[in-house]
Symmetry: C2
Subunit: 489 residues, 2 copies
C-alpha cells in the first residue's frame, strides 16, 4: 500500500460522550496523521477556516500534504459502526428464514450455504459483496464468522484487507461428529485445531501486526464442538492472546440440547467457563436467556456480549435484556448476525435494539387495583421506563460499546486524540419549500435517502431521524484507519 496522505476533517462531529449522551460539536476540525491516527482535535472555533488554520499551525503541517474534507451544511462526522457478530458466509441468505427457529434454521438454510462456499469463486462473490455492503452502511469493524474451509476463510481475510475493512476473521470449528452434518464438519478435533492455526498463520502473513485484520478463535457453539476442541482453542488463546467468539444462550431448544450434551456443567455459560473460553477477549453472541448466576460469571471473567436484536426476533429466540446486562457490569455491543438477522446494517440493529428494549418493557406487568401494592406498582412502572433504550444508548452500543466488545476501545468508536480515524460522513435530505423531490444530485449522483430534515429540528432530533430512517444513502464516505474505503457515487 502506498503511504497515506494526512487528513483534515472540518465541520460538525457527533460521537458518544457517555453511554447516555452524545457530544455534538460544530465548526470543529480533526487532523489525522499518515498512520490514520487522530493527531489533534480543535473545538469551539468560530468558523471552519479558523479551525483549519489552528490545526495546521499547531501541528506544523503544510497544507500541501493534507487532504481536506469539509462536511457540507447539515452533514456530520460520526464514528464508524462496529458489528460484533456477523456471518459473512450467510450474507447470501439475508431475508431467508421462513418460520424457522435456530436448530432447524441451521439445517435448512445455513449449513448448505456455508458448505457451498468451499467453491472459491462463490466465496469471493459472497464475501466481497458482504464487505462492500457493510462498508457502505458505515461498518468499519466487523467480527466475522466465515466457514470451515481454510482457503475460503483466508480469502475473506484477504478481501477485508484489500477493501480496507477492519475485521476479525474466524474459521469456524465444528468437530462434534453426531451434531454436525456429515457434509459439513471438521474431520477430527486435531484437524479442526490445525485448520484454525492455518488461518491464524495466513492472517499473520498478510497483516503481521493484525493492524487491520486479526484472526479470531471461533468454536461455533457448544453443541457443534467437543470439549477437546474448545479446550484446545482456550489453550491457543492463552498462548497467543487471540480473541475468541462463539454463541451463547440463544434459544430454549439449544439450551436444553447443551444441558443434555454437557451434563457436568451447571449451565450453558458454565460449559465455556470450565473449558477456559470465558476471557476479557471473548465475544458471546446473543446471551438471551441467562440466569443471574450466568451473568455474574460472565461479568467476573470480563467476557463481552454481542446483542443481536434483529436475529433474536426473526428466529423467535427471545428478547435479550441489555439494561440488565449493563446492570450486571457486562460490556455489550451490537451484532447484525446476518443471516439470522436479515439486515447487515448496524444502524438497523441499533433501531431494533431500541424496539426490542420496548418489548422487554412491555413484558413487565404492573400490578393494578390493589392499594397494598402501590409501591410495587410504582417501582414496576419506573423499571418499565428504565429498560427502554434511548437514541443515545443504542448509538453508543453501535460504536463505543462495540469497540469495547472487541477490545478496540482505545482505538476506535470515538474522536479522541490518539484514536484511529474510523468514521463516516453522514448527510440527510433537505425538504424543499414545495415538498417535492428534486434530483439535483449535487456531486453524489444518487438520492439522499429518506431522512427528511425540514430545518426546524435540533441537532439531537436530526440524529434521531437518522437513527430511525437512515440507510446507506446517508453514509456519504467511510474511512478506516484514515483510509477512504467507501464513497457514494
Amino acid at each position: 500500500m502506498s503511504p497515506q496522505r494526512k487528513l483534515l476533517l472540518l465541520g460538525t462531529f457527533v460521537h458518544s460522550k457517555t453511554q447516555q449522551s452524545l457530544d455534538i460539536f460544530h465548526n470543529a476540525g480533526i487532523a489525522v496523521d499518515a498512520d490514520g491516527k487522530i493527531a489533534a482535535v480543535e473545538r469551539d472555533v468560530p468558523d471552519l477556516s479558523e479551525a483549519k488554520a489552528r490545526l495546521l499551525t499547531k501541528l506544523g503541517w503544510d497544507e500541501a500534504e493534507v487532504d481536506v474534507t469539509q462536511a457540507a451544511d447539515g452533514q456530520f462526522f460520526f464514528p464508524g459502526f462496529i458489528d460484533t457478530h456477523i456471518h459473512a458466509a450467510q450474507y447470501a441468505n439475508a431475508g431467508l428464514f421462513g418460520k424457522s427457529s435456530l436448530l432447524d434454521w441451521l439445517e435448512t438454510y445455513t449449513f448448505p450455504l456455508e458448505a457451498s462456499l468451499s467453491d472459491l469463486s462463490r466465496a469471493r462473490r459472497v464475501y466481497a459483496r458482504c464487505i462492500r455492503r457493510t462498508l457502505s452502511h458505515g461498518t468499519t469493524t466487523a467480527a466475522y464468522f466465515a466457514t470451515l474451509d481454510v482457503a475460503a476463510t483466508n480469502l475473506l481475510a484477504d478481501l477485508c484487507l484489500s477493501m480496507g475493512q477492519r475485521a476479525f476473521v474466524g474459521r469456524v470449528c465444528m468437530d462434534r461428529t453426531e451434531m454436525n452434518p456429515a457434509y459439513y464438519r471438521d474431520a477430527s478435533t486435531e484437524a479442526s485445531l490445525e485448520a484454525t492455526r492455518q488461518t491464524v498463520e495466513h492472517v499473520r502473513r498478510i497483516d503481521p501486526g493484525f493492524d487491520v485484520v486479526s484472526p479470531i478463535l471461533t468454536p461455533r457453539f457448544a453443541p457443534s464442538c467437543t470439549r477437546e476442541v474448545m479446550a484446545g482453542l482456550a489453550q491457543m488463546h492463552r498462548e497467543t492472546g487471540l480473541p475468541i467468539q462463539t454463541h451463547l444462550s440463544e434459544n430454549p431448544g439449544e439450551i436444553r440440547l447443551v444441558a443434555q450434551l454437557f451434563p457436568e456443567s451447571s449451565s450453558y455459560t458454565d460449559v465455556y467457563h470450565r473449558l477456559g473460553l470465558l476471557t476479557p477477549r471473548t465475544v458471546l453472541a446473543h446471551a438471551v436467556h441467562l440466569s443471574e448466576e450466568e451473568a455474574e460469571v460472565i461479568a467476573r471473567e470480563g467476557a463481552k456480549v454481542s446483542h443481536c436484536p434483529c436475529s433474536n426476533t426473526s428466529l423467535t429466540s427471545g428478547a435479550a435484556r441489555v439494561r440488565w446486562l449493563w446492570d450486571k457490569g457486562i460490556d455489550v455491543g451490537l451484532g447484525t448476525d446476518v443471516s439470522g438477522g436479515y439486515s447487515h446494517s448496524i444502524l438497523e440493529a441499533a433501531r431494533q435494539a431500541a424496539m426490542v428494549s420496548r418489548h422487554v418493557a412491555m413484558n413487565i406487568e404492573i400490578p393494578r387495583d390493589d392499594d397494598d401494592d402501590a409501591a410495587a406498582a410504582e417501582e414496576k412502572t419506573k423499571e418499565k421506563e428504565r429498560v427502554k433504550l434511548t437514541v443515545e444508548e443504542v448509538l453508543y452500543l453501535a460504536t463505543r460499546g462495540g469497540a469495547k466488545c472487541v477490545g478496540l476501545e482505545e482505538k476506535v468508536g470515538g474522536f479522541e486524540v490518539g484514536m484511529e480515524w474510523d468514521a463516516q460522513l453522514v448527510g440527510l435530505s433537505h425538504v424543499h419549500d414545495d415538498g417535492e423531490l428534486h434530483h439535483d444530485g449535487g456531486g453524489d449522483g444518487d438520492d439522499h435517502g429518506f431522512v427528511d430534515v425540514f430545518g426546524w429540528e435540533s441537532w439531537g432530533e436530526r440524529v434521531a431521524k437518522w437513527l430511525y430512517n437512515g440507510d446507506d444513502r446517508n453514509t456519504k464516505r467511510v474511512w478506516v484507519k484514515g483510509r477512504l474505503v467507501h464513497r457514494r457515487r
Copy 2:
C-alpha cells in the same frame, strides 16, 4: 386531466392468491383500459411477444393507442400498498418520539406540530413530501388523518388528487374541552361537525365520484371527543355512507382514561358501539388490548382493524395479535401510523408485522418438566408456531388485507379483470461475479437498493428478500388507476 392512454404490462406478476399464498406468474400480460381498469389478463404464454399479441387481438386494441411497459429480467409487478392508518401532518416528526408513550407523546410531539400546520405553506411542504415519499415506497392508497384545520385538510385532498395518490382524507374532530389543549381543539361540537362537512363538500367538488380521493369521518379517539360529536359523525355516516376512522385500545393508560371518561360503557369498544361508530366502513387503528367480548362485537359489526406494528412497539403500546384477530373473523390491514411509527413505508410495516408476531409467539409460555402436561405443552408449541406471520401473510396484509380494510377489495390489492391498475414495478439488485457494486445505472440514474440476488434464489425467495431488505429504490414505477404517479430517476 387529459384522457389516459391504454397500458400493456408484460413480464412477471406477483400478488396474493389467498391470505396464505402468493400467485407468481411469468411471461404474462395485463391490459389496462383508459379508465385505469384491468381489461384482460393473459397467463401461461410462452413469451412476452405472444402475451402482447394475444391481448391486443383479444381486445381489438391497436398498438398505437397503448403504452407498453415490459418488466426487465428479474423485475416483477406487485399490487400497490395500502396504508390504512397514517397521520400526514405528523410526517415531519418521523423518528422523533424519545421514550414517550401515547398520552405524553401527543402533548410533547404531536399536538404542537399538528397545530402549526394551519400555516398553509408549512402544510403544503409537509403534505407534499408525505405524499411523494409514500408514493415512492409504493403506497397507492392511504387513509390519512390530517389536522383540525379545514383549509389545510382540503389542501391535503388537493395534493393527493394532483399527485395521483388514492386517499381517504380526514379532518380530525377533537371537541372535548378538558381533554385537548386550548391551542388545538374544535371550538364546539357544532363547529367540529360543520368543519367536517366543509371538508366533505370540498372533496365532493374536486372529485365528485370520490374516484381517487374520498372524505373520511375522523373522530380522533374517544378521549378527544364528546359523545355528541361522535353521535353526530355516526349520523353523518348513516346519511352519506362515508367511511369512518379512529383509534382503539392502543395503550393501557389510554384505556383507563376511556373507562373514567365513559363510565356508562363496558369497554373502550363499547364506547364506539353505543354511539353507532362501529360499521363495516369503520377502520379502527391499533386494537392492541382487546378483550374477547370486544373482538366479538367488532367482528359482528364488520368493523376493520388497522395493525400498526412499528408504532405499537415504538410507543411501548403493546403487541397486537393479528392471528387472534383473524381467528375472530376480523379483517386486518397495515398502518404505518406515522409518526407514532417512524417509517412511512408499508414494506417496513409488513416486516415489523412479522417481527411483532414473533414477539407475540415468544410470550407464549410452554409448560416444561411435567408429564401430565405433555398435551398442553404440545398445544402451546403448535400455537407458538401458528401465531407467527409468514412472508405471504404480511404481504397479504399490505395489499388485499388493506383493501378490505378500506372497502376497496373489489377495486385494488390484486390483479383481476375489472380491478383498477394500482401497482408497482419492483426491481432487485443483481450481484456481479466479483461481488462489487457497479454503478452502471441502467436508465435509472440511481442505485438499486441492497436486496442482493445472486441468481440461485427461487422466486419465492426473491420476494422474501425484497420484503426483508427492500426500500423505495426497489420500487421503480408506481401507478394508480392506470396513471403513472411515480418513477425513479
